[in-house]
């Protein structure tokens, strides 16, 4: 368990770092896919099997692929230099590091109460019930939101000429 956690975490962070550092957008996209797999691995360790599956299906299967398509469709100039940093490289790094330092410090000093005793619920069934009972409005709204996204992609993405 412990070694798995470190393995997944290491893959995740290294790949994510690679994604943002690489100057080749294709490499970035592929590294990002890898990191999404690692996230799914972490979910498995946390006994969220369903989430791990959704993660791979949606993030790796849809989002990452969509982004790769985006990369292909908007190609301009050399792909080797398709993902250059902008003028905020230094201050951006500083901000990100500072934010991490502050967050990490806060997490470190937070004493979480002992977890309540309880049995992990059987996720899929419980999730389905929550979806359709307690969170019905949110669920429906999410549906409309996805519809809007499709509509928008058609309305805006379609070549008007």
């Amino acid at each position: 368990m412990i070694s798995l956690f470190y393995l997944f975490s290491a893959i995740l962070l290294v790949f994510a770092l690679g994604t943002v550092i690489s100057t080749n957008l294709i490499h970035s996209a592929l590294l990002m896919m890898g990191s999404f797999f690692a996230v799914a691995g972490l979910y498995l360790l946390l006994q969220a099997d369903y989430l791990a599956m959704v993660q791979i299906l949606v993030y790796v299967g849809a989002i990452a692929i969509l982004l790769v398509f985006g990369v292909m469709l908007t190609r301009k100039g050399s792909i080797e230099e398709s993902n250059l940093p902008n003028r905020y490289k230094g201050i951006g790094l500083l901000t990100a590091l500072g934010l991490f330092g502050l967050l990490a410090r806060s997490i470190y000093y937070t004493r979480f109460p002992a977890p309540p005793i309880g049995h992990p619920t059987q996720s899929i069934l419980a999730i389905a019930q929550a979806f359709l009972l307690q969170y019905f409005v949110a669920f429906e709204a999410l549906g409309i939101l996805l519809l809007i996204a499709i509509l928008g992609a058609i309305l805006i993405g379609r070549d008007s000429k």
């Binding site: 806060s106 009972l133 307690q134 409005v137 709204a141 409309i144 809007i148 928008g152």
Partner: protein
Amino acid sequence: MNISVVSLELAALSIGFLIIIFGLIFPSFRSSKTGGYLAIIGLLSMLIGSFFLPASNTQTFINAFYVQDDLALFFKQLFILAAIFINAMSLHYLKPYTKNKGDYFALTFFALTGMMVMASAAEFITLYIGLELMTFTFVLLTAYKKQDLKSGEAGLKYILLSAISSGVLLYGLSLLYGLTGKLDFAGISSVFSLGATSPLVVWAIIMLLSGLGFKIALVPFHMWTPDVYEGAPTPITAFLAVGSKAAGFIAFIRVFFHVFSVYTSIFMPLLITLTVLTLLIGNLIALAQTHLKRFLAYSSIAHAGYILLGVIAYSKLGLSAILFYLMLYLFANIGAFAGVTALVINTGHDRIADLTGLWKRSPFLSVIFLISLLSLAGIPPTAGFIGKFYLFTEAIHQGYLWLAALALGMSLVAIYYYLMVLRTLLSGTNEETKSFIIPFSLRLVMIVSAGMTLVIGIWPGPFTDIALRIAQSFL
């Protein structure tokens, strides 16, 4: 299960889908204004119907995660009202930009649904989804003028920045969930009331402040506003300034008056600092604007600052002052943006300089601008004066004399720039002497909004009563 709680949302969705389906069946429907008329009629009947809806804290849908209390109903009516105005403004505005009007009108309904979900949400997941529904629809509407470079750029800025900000908001929410194990407002606040402050609570508060502050254009999370307001189609800018901001405020009110009520000592200094910044930056930069919509964007940022005085006062009267101010802010802003729409329809531009000599060309439009801008500036007998007076009095009453004095001082700066616009409008002559053609629907919007601005200004009693009743039922 209580259907009446979601009846307005259902109605909005049905009309929206109806317009889309009509557009699919009859292609000519999409290019005609019929969809707009259908939308306005539908919205009007929703508005009338909404007054017959039962509203109390016990009106919940399935469980306590979705409530229709007085506050929610009030905001929903505000959103519907704004949507009516926006659709009426759009009827003639859209003509040069797109052949596809039908979907535009339908989209306003989805944005409306998003706002209404936000108004009723008593739990963070629903709130978040409502917020994103609203945002995405607005992105789409912002980028609707496809041939316009500004429109697309505004759309991109809006979606990326709001995604970043909702990333921050979500991180805050995840911390909130981790600290309490709950996501509903009542549950979280009951856990918080047991005590125990950890550094992560502060993080959660700050991240929520920035995520919701983004929607109400709180400095320093305001930077998207001028750009998006300028790029978006003018009626949509009005909807953003009025609807989206009010939706941000309902979330703000619920979260800070309810969820974090035990942590006032933590968030109040932050909120006061941000309010001061908002007042300063909003008003000072507005001075230097040359573009009418950007100018109104900064003015709306400044107004968020004034309204926040009510949150800082943190009392029933403060809340009722906020609600009252949102009402008059709606009418004043709609009046101003309807004026901009008329200007764009007639001249194709919307710089402040384009107003030169307007008095000669269209006295009617000038009077509308005069009333609306004076209300935004807070000069009697317009509604803005009494709204500001109410807010400032309550802030002073709660011991924030210096803050009220600052806000008052900044509203003087504000008067300077509103007068600058009015000066341009009243003075000078334009070589173009063709008088303005203002379509009937737009004219009606202007008359109603300017009329209401004067009515609230001269006879505010009934409106403050409404605001106070709602504030009392909430707190």
